[in-house]
């Protein structure tokens, strides 16, 4: 799994790439945790997970997002999901994760 992080207007933007399934869920979880820690030290105290490069995600990835959200809540970090593709949008709706997370069409909207 490819993973890059940048800082935009004080917020951490984390961009995973590929898909999150059984094989990659662990790496995804670890990258997410590191990104939350990074966001806790950023001025904006916000983590935006950029979904643009993600093909799809199984329940492992979704539950990793919940674990990261817990860590973020405890550290006072806000978390948002940006730019999901059509498949990811459907998965977020079917799992009702669109009710647990703010989901936006662009990075700017999440900032």
């Amino acid at each position: 799994m490819q993973w890059s992080s940048t800082e935009q207007q004080g917020c951490v933007v984390a961009s995973p790439d590929g898909r999150v399934d059984e094989a990659t869920a662990e790496a995804f979880t670890e990258h997410l945790a590191a990104s939350v820690t990074m966001a806790a030290d950023s001025p904006g105290k916000k983590l935006i997970v950029d979904f643009a490069g993600l093909d799809y995600m199984s329940s492992r990835g979704l539950r990793a997002l919940t674990l990261a959200k817990r860590q973020a809540d405890a550290a006072g970090v806000a978390m948002a999901l940006a730019r999901p593709n059509e498949v990811m949008r459907e998965i977020l709706a079917i799992s009702r994760y669109d009710k647990l997370f703010a989901v936006t069409d662009s990075i700017e909207a999440a900032i």
Partner: protein, 324 residues
């Protein structure tokens, strides 16, 4: 092998109210507007073939009870039943009818656990009053007998357990063992649930496999343990799985309530390369339309995340029969 669902609801039995039935009739009339029917048979055929299931039918409201018909019942193979929810009453009446036609009066029960929704049918199980019946209750729990006796104490029910006329035995099964019981081989798996629960894997002589896994929470902080669950579901012809909540509910408000989601059930079946999944232990507050929507979404999720052969996603309802 044939699987018959006698009760598919979780937690509490429910029944349709007058307004729910009126709503179904109104929808059916709308769908049929402009048409006329020569007789009741033609109208029935329209209801069966052209209306959606949530309009023409219902998922039902009896709590969990599933019958597995294996081997050759005409030649003495015994009944196999998972759980004793309120759906057991209907099974008991039908079993008496079949016993009248020569079916063996031997009943092997396999208990997921002893919560009320999974045992409440037993006081209404007519074969328990049959002096020629032999009832063997298998459980992973050692306190199955205590649970069944307690619900027939006078404070809860007028007929005491000791007044039942059938020969009733309790057997505790162990994880890791394989048992030959009736026409099936049985293995069990311990699951995460309040006071624990057990999943069962049944294999018949032809190698057909049914897994019964209800009231099982797959915890977020123990995802590595799911490989064992996938193995238990491995290549099953049918997995009956607790899919009571949405994934979001199961990790937030309803975390630790002991139940699973459609999404996790599909992932586990995909991981185990199971052939069919039956969504089960339906949330009692869900309407037929809600359950039908959850089913359609589950089918879609399976499609979106499929990497190997398709997994057929069924939605269990009271009265469903699946032959394998």
């Amino acid at each position: 092998m044939l699987v018959r669902f006698w009760g598919t609801r979780g937690s509490l039995p429910v029944a349709a109210t007058a307004s729910i039935v009126q709503d179904k009739v109104a929808h059916a009339l709308l769908a049929a507007s402009g048409r006329s029917f020569a007789d009741i048979e033609e109208a029935r055929s329209f209801a069966r073939n052209e209306l959606d299931f949530a309009t023409s039918g219902t998922f039902g409201g009896a709590t969990t009870c599933v019958e597995i018909e294996a081997g050759d019942p005409a030649n003495g193979d015994p009944y196999i039943i998972c759980d004793m929810g309120s759906g057991l009453r209907g099974f008991g009446l039908d079993a008496m009818r079949r016993c009248g036609q020569g079916h063996a009066r031997v009943y092997h029960f396999f208990m997921s656990h002893l919560h009320w929704d999974h045992i409440m049918g037993f006081p209404f199980f007519v074969p328990a009053f049959d002096p020629n019946a032999h009832i063997i209750i298998h459980a992973g729990h050692e306190d199955a007998e205590e649970a069944l006796r307690r619900q027939q104490e006078e404070i809860s029910f007028p007929v005491k357990f000791d007044w039942l006329r059938a020969k009733i035995e309790f057997r505790t099964l162990k994880v890791g063992e394989t048992y030959q019981i009736g026409a099936v081989q049985v293995e069990l798996m311990e699951q995460h649930h309040s006071h624990s629960s057990f999943g069962y894997r049944f294999t018949d002589a032809e190698g057909k496999v049914v897994v019964f896994s209800t009231d099982s929470e797959h915890k977020m902080d123990r995802m590595e343990g799911e490989a064992d669950v996938e193995q238990f579901f491995g290549n099953a012809d049918l997995v009956i799985c607790d899919t009571m909540y949405s994934l979001a509910d199961s990790v937030s408000m309803k975390e630790d309530w002991g139940h699973s989601s459609n999404i996790v059930a599909i992932d586990l079946c995909h991981g185990g390369r199971a052939k069919r999944l039956a969504l089960f232990h339906h949330e009692p507050v869900y309407s037929d339309a809600d359950i039908a929507r959850m089913h359609a979404e589950s089918v879609r999720y399976e499609e979106l995340t499929r990497e190997h052969d398709p997994l057929e996603v069924l939605c269990a309802y009271d009265g469903l029969e699946v032959s394998l």
